[in-house]
Structure formats: C-alpha cells, structure tokens
Amino acid sequence: MSSQAPPATAATTATALVVDRLHVTYKVRATDRLAVRDVSFSIGREQTFGLVGESGCGKSTTALAITRYLPSNGRISGGSISVNGQDLASMGPDALRRLRARTISMVYQEPARALNPSIRVGRQVAEVYELAGLKKAEALERAEEMLRVVQIADPGRILRAYPHQLSGGMLQRVIIAMALASEPSLLILDEPTTALDATVEAEVLDLLAPLRERFHTAVLFISHNLGLIARMCDRVAVMYAGEMVEQGPAREILDNPRHPYTVGLLRCVPRAGQRKDHGRLDTIPGFLPGPGDVQAGCVFAARCALATRRCTEEAPPLYQVSAGRTSRCHYYEQAPNVPRTTPQDVKLATPVEGGEPVVSVWGASKTFHARGERLHALVGVDLELGRGETLGLVGESGSGKTTLARVLLGLTVPDQGSRIELEGSPLPMACTARDRKQLQALQIVFQNPGSALNRRHTVRHIITRSLKKLAGLSRQESERRLVEVVHSVRMEERHLALHPYQLSGGLKQRVAIARAFAGAPRVLVCDEPTSALDVSVQAAILNLLADLQSQEHVSYIVISHDLGVVRYLADRIVVLYLGRVMEEGSAETVFTGPHHPYTEALLSAVPSLDGPPRERIRLKGEIPSAARVPTGCVFHTRCPRRLSSGICESEEPPLAEVEPGHMMRCHIPVDQLRRLQAKGPGPSPSPVPWRSSIMPN
C-alpha cells in the first residue's frame, strides 16, 4: 500500500475501488463515440470482481480508464473513479505515477510482451522494489522471495534467465509476482490466462486466491470465459456494448441470470450432457452494435427475443432484482425464459458403424531436427477414422495434435515407415504428390480465419478457386455451386464481393468452412475451429459444423484445447501426450472414466460452469521438451498417480485395450484407476513460508 496515504485510511477503507457512473468516449474521425456508458461498481478488499463479455463490450476500456491509461483519443467523459477513497480525476502526473507504482497493478494477457526481452527477469522484478527505495542487493533478495511466493521452485535460476528462456506459464507467474510485489490495493487481471494451456492456467489461478488474502488486495478479473469467472469471482458484472447489463454475486448470476444477454451467453457454452444432436447450443442472432450506434432504448433490443416497443424507445434503468443484484432489462423477471433461437434437439446422421475406415494411419512418426536436437513430435501413432465419424484430438500444446493433422493432410512429411491409407488405397505423404481426388478428400479449417484467408482476394474468388481446383467445375457450374455453398454456411450473396478484412471473425470462419466444403471432402480437419471466436459466434459455428457433417457425410477430426467443444462434437476421442496416444475411446468413456491419469488432470483443469468445482488433481510443471523425452512412461514426471514400484520410470506401458473399445497407456490396472478416481485427488502442494510485509514503509 502507499506509504503516502495516512495509515488510518488504509485500515478503514474497506472498498478499494469505487467506479461511479463511468462514461468513456473515444474520438474516431472527429466524432465522439461512447464506448463505456454509465458503469458503476465497487470492489472490496480481498474481493474478486469479474467483468465478463464478448470482445468489443468495453471490459478492457473500463480497465484502462481505471489506470488512466486510455489511448490518446479516449477520455473519461463522465462519472468518477476512486481508489482507496482518492479521486483519480483530480490526480496530477506525480500522484498518478505513485498510484501506478504502489496502489494499482495490472497483468495482461500476453506474458511475453509484458517483460523487456533484453533484460534478465531478476532485474525487472527487483526494479519494483528499487522504485520503493530498497538497495539493489536487498531488492534482488526480495525478488527471489516473491518468486517463491508464486510457487516458483527454483527462483535463482528464473531470476538469471531472460524472458524468452521461460515458458508462458512461468512468465505469467513472474508477472503476477511483480504485480503483487508492491502489495497493491487493486490488482487488475485482463484475460491473464487466455494465452496459456488449461493445465497451466489452473496452476496460475490456484495461486491467486491465497495471495489475494495475504496482501488484502482487491482483484478486478476480466475474462471472456464464463467458467473462469464462475471459479474465480465473488461478484460479477456482465458487459454488453459498453453497458453493464447485469451485476451480482457470481454464482447467482451464472445459475439464475436475469438479463436476456446473460441468458444467451450461458446458452452458448457447451456443458456436460450437451451434444450436437441433443441439448444443442443456442445462439444469439445479429451483431454487436458499434460504440455509440444505439441512440435510444436498450442496447440489446435488436438481438433480444423479448424486446418490445418499450425496449427500443426507453432505455432500461438499473432494476434492483434482489439485494445486491441489478439488471438493465425492463423484463428481467421473464429473462430466464427467453425463447430459444435454435431447436433443442435435431436429428443428425449417425456415423456408419463398422465398415471400411475412410482414413487409416499406421505408425505415424515425425522427428524434427532443430539445432542438432531431435524433436520427436509424433511417435508411432495408429489411427482409424470411420465414415461420418468425429474424432476429437486432445492434449496440451506440444502434445502433437497439430503435427498429426498436418501429417494426415500432407503438409508435414512424416518419417520413413509411416503409412496412410485413404479408403483402402495408399496415400502419398506430401500433398504436392497427391492427385486432385486425394487432395479433395482431405481438407482443413484453420484456427485463425484471418490468416487462413488471403486478405487480397474476395470471398467469391476464394470459394470459386476451390470449386475449380478441387471439384473440377467449369465456370458456369461453379457459379451455380458457389451460391449453394455460400447459402449452406448461412451467408448471403452480397458477401461474395467482400474482402476478408470487411468480415467479422465469425463470418470469416464461415468463408473458410465454405471453402473447405467446396470440394466435397471426405475428411475435414478442424484445428481449433472456434478458439479465435467469441462465445456466441462459437456456438453458431459448432452447430453449423454439425449440420454440414450430417448433410455431407463427412468425417471430422476436431482438434481443440477446449474440452467442452470436443465433448460437444466428438464421437471418439484420442488423447495425445508428447506425440503418443495415451488414451483412446468413445467420447462417453473418455469423459466419464476411468481416465488415464493425464486425461484426468486435463479434465480437472477445465473451469466449469456446472455447480461447485470438482475435486482437482494438478499437474506439476509443464510438458517436457520433445527433445528430452522422459524414460519409461513419458508422463511419469508429472503423473499424480505414479506407482511407487518404480515401473513407471523404467518401462513404457503399451497402449492396451482395458475395456472393449477403450485403449489406455498406463501401468495402473483400470480397476485400480476407477477406485482411485472415485476417491478424489492426491495431496495438494505444500504452502510456501511467508514473511509479512515485504514493502518498506
């Protein structure tokens, strides 16, 4: 806390942050556009307040306003912000600098961009203490201590490292350590774990709750992920188009939302028990209005199924729903019953049981050579994909999911000895050696539609080219087919003349899907098809993929770090770790268990919307480098259920069928796994000793 503030203030101020009727305006091309309108909330000490909403809703703008870091074309055009009872607006440059140095800390999404790449981590952490007036040596000592607090086992090594030598998860811990070093009254976390793997995310987030209490810090947690908000926050506010549409205790909002937008958002997230044919995700129709576009009435009216004339004419005030809960909806009592925009259940073609597989892979291995090291990205993977089947590929980054997909597509040529067959006939390894029919059979939808579409080509050109090259259509035929394809992804002919930069992320991904379907593929690889998209867009894309599959009888390989997405789409799941298949089985079996210990850890890392968090097992550290693969079972270094007999360290278990159709690579007998997993997690990590108040006063 600030040494400038009188001690009495610090002790008596229970609320760290008060935002009252905040308005933020951006000047864009000489016109003022209101980006944040009438936002009010407060955060008490040791409380976590969540701001949730889709991109463009004003979450980050609100955070920037609180730190007074708005870009030069933005200004606070109304309302007030006070931190520890001090009004921010009245602060001069010096007071503001002191505020940022001591009272407010911020952690951003991209840890690699938050540190200076050419200065050792130690110097950068110690600087926080030097600013507080400590001597160099003492500051470094404090820095080391602080790294221990964020559970870094070997702080000495980390302090001597440069940022690029550390993994994303480690960097984010360092940044959290720096942010907390000044014992701030307010810690702002803006999508702090979006760039991290779920397992690493879980570890980083585990740190935050105890630290918050230790430092009496108020936390403002910004995220698009409703599951994370549910797990982390006491109170939550849902933002839409610059307004706070609903606010209240996190659990209540998520269990019993009282604004049609919140209801819609929650219906977009796949939960347990929901699948593409049963309990479909609902979507929110229409588009987010631009800042300042809605002049009268409710900002959500244009997309709301409950909207009446009153909604478009009269802006709803903040209605008091119950104690501590507000909603900006005239009809908040009816909000939970917003009619669905898509049917609950649909009939989809089921995968063909038995029969010849569309694609078979035998012994697929890929070794990359980099700086004299051999990286085994893929080791002896066998795979079969049935007609109309959806196979989910699951694993952390670095597990070989994408390499496997690229090998299949012929974009990466595998090692000698790997074999791929397409409908019984061998497939050349490089896509350049494949003929038109073979190319046509295997297509992909990439993760980032912005990168997957040529930004200088129109939608018409992009799709027509695939119709010509893959389907082999003449000009007239492709003209006719083009319209069909565009309609099949629910786009319109007016979109044809546009360039990708004129389309939203969701529309771009539709173009990419249209392109992939233009050649009528047999197998479509979907590599993280929705991870670059907003939740409401994701739901629409997932349903579109499911419908197209049913119409065209295509097989899918779905790669996703989001287990909810995989569970929603996949019939069968393959879990990869360090390029090896650890577990394989029907989606049902893999999700209900008994699980491979790795799968178990992946599942328990995912923040869930469904009720109180499940018992967790935690992976220690991060996925080892593919250049130095552990001996024995490759997972033993992180396995929470490692056997004491030592067999896990010495002998690699085979991929064996433990139940009919359920393959697992583990020494532990499946019955024992079932018993262990019914019981719950193993011991949790021991707490780190702590010396109170590290800041000089």
Partner: protein
C-alpha cells in the same frame, strides 16, 4: 473471443467499426484502396513531391518546345555570362543557355531511370518471391549471389559493364535494372517470409495450386505495399546513379543536354567563379531525387497505417 491485446477494443483500431457489424457490410470492395489514395492526396509531402516530379516530367516531354533557347546552339558572343534577364540561369563556356539545358536535360534521365527501375522491380520481385516461397537451397544460392553483387557499389558495377559493352540507353537500363533487381529481391524476400507464416498458403497447397500461382496470385498482392515503396526508393537512386555515370562520361553523350554531363563539363570553371553552370544542373538532380523520395515516404507512411 478477444485473443488480441487490450487495444483491440479501441474503436479506432478497426477502421470499419466492429468488423462484422451490419454497417460494415455495405462497404464496397475498393474502399480501402481508395481511402489510401485520398489520404495520400491530403499529405503535404506527397503533394510537394508530386508537383516537382510533374514539373520535370513536363520538361522531359515538352521541354524543347518551351525552352527559351535551343539547348545545343552555342553563342560565342556571351559565354560564361552570369544569370541575367535574358539568360535566367546564365550561359556556359560555349555560350549555351543553362536554363534551356536544364529543362531539356530532364529528357534522358526521366526515360532511363523509370525504365531501369521498372525492370529492376520486375526482376527483383520475381527473384524475391521465389527465394521467399521456395526457400531451401535455392534461397541459399541466390542469396549468396545477391550478397556478392551487392558487395560492390552500384556505380562501380554499372561502370564495368558500360566499359565492357559500350554505352547506350539500353545498356544503362539493363545494368541498373539488374543491379537494383538484386537489392529489391532482398526486401521482397523479407516480406514473403512474413506471409509464409500464414495459413492461406497451406490452403493453396491443399488445393493443388502450382508454385507460380502461389507466388504471383496468392502472395504477390499481399506484398505489393513493400514493392511499391521499394520502386519509389529505387527510382530516386536510379536518378542518382545515371547522373553519376553521365558525370563520369559513361552516360548520355555530349552535346545532348544532360545534368550529370553538364556538371562534369563545367565544374572546372567553378574556381573561376562561374558557379551557375554547375549549380543549376546539380539543383535539378537534387530536386528530382528529393521529389521521388518525398513521394516514396508518403506512400510508405500511408501503407503503414
């Protein structure tokens, strides 16, 4: 979801408002490029450069019709005369009107420089695209050849060629074009390497597109910005190189008026105080180079936004 940095939510970051908002869809396809042009026309530096360039282009085409005197006719009655009402820029040692020679002297340099630069851009873009996209051994070998060629100053390489094959407009265009081609290849290669990270190239390969198609239809439109900037920058250098060669006597031959050759013919009289004979052709070279660079800089600035 917002995977980008925090600034993603700042309205100005996306020129069309929220990407997919209904309003954005009414935008016609050419809007962005037209916007670039509008912005360019509003830039003061661009306007200044374009004005100067336009003046010299006009001189190159019509110079002979409006020059006050015949540029090649000597006047032995008034040689080495200082600037006056009759001869605004004075006369040279043979009594020829310096103003007329400067005006008409724009002709050859404004023919050779753009042609050479155009050739260089075509050659360089092709090499750069191939280096960047094909990569591997091809890139390595061509890369070393480029390094070797660039180790020598352009003027020296051009000088050697002209000495070997004899001077002509064609030789100058070819030599300067090829040397500049190698330099441009480097810039284009770097731009292509950035494109190679993007998935649309994999999509093209999965469609069975040929290497040539990928290079010229997929990648080229995306690297046109750097190519355009490189063209204007090289144009400036080309003017300079040609003037230098003429100065050394390997460019345009006397008595045809030419800035570089005129400086060479007259700089010996500087010591005698006849400064106008050297200064005005030199200013002409400088103004043309500056004009081209002003244009190049403004294009780069607009494209960078």
């Amino acid at each position: 979801m917002s995977v980008g940095p925090a600034v993603e939510e700042i309205p100005e970051a996306s020129p069309l408002g929220r990407g997919g908002a209904a309003g954005a869809l009414d935008v016609s396809a050419g809007r962005i490029r037209r916007e670039h042009l509008h912005q360019l026309v509003r830039t003061k530096t661009f306007l200044a450069g374009a004005l100067i360039l336009a003046w010299w282009v006009m001189c190159a085409i019509f110079g002979q019709t409006f020059a006050p005197f015949k540029a090649t006719s000597p006047n032995l009655l008034s040689f080495n005369s200082a600037p006056s009402a009759a001869h605004w820029f004075g006369t040279d040692a043979l009594g020829r009107d310096v103003l007329s020679r400067v005006v008409v002297g724009a002709r050859d340099i404004l023919k050779i420089a753009p042609l050479a630069t155009l050739l260089g851009t075509l050659v360089g873009t092709t090499i750069g695209l191939a280096q960047g996209y094909i990569g591997g051994i091809f890139d390595l070998v061509v890369g070393r050849v480029v390094d070797a060629a660039l180790a020598l100053p352009t003027v020296i390489v051009a000088f050697l060629f002209v000495v070997a094959v004899g001077t002509s407009t064609l030789t100058l265009v070819l030599v300067i074009g090829l040397v500049f081609g190698l330099i441009i290849a480097r810039t284009v290669r770097a731009a292509v390497l950035q494109e190679r990270e993007l998935d649309y190239l994999d999509a093209a390969r999965l469609r069975g597109e040929t290497t040539v198609h990928v290079m010229f239809v997929e990648i080229l439109p995306n690297v046109m910005g750097p190519v355009l900037v490189e063209f204007t920058v090289r144009l400036g250098y080309a003017v300079f190189t040609i003037a230098t060669l003429s100065f050394l006597g390997f460019g345009v031959q006397p008595p045809t008026p030419d800035w570089g050759a005129d400086i060479a013919a007259n700089y010996q009289y500087l010591a005698a105080g006849y400064w106008w004979e050297t200064l005005f052709p030199a200013l002409a070279i400088a103004s043309l180079v500056i004009a081209v660079n002003l244009i190049g800089d403004s294009i780069e600035a607009v494209l960078a936004q």
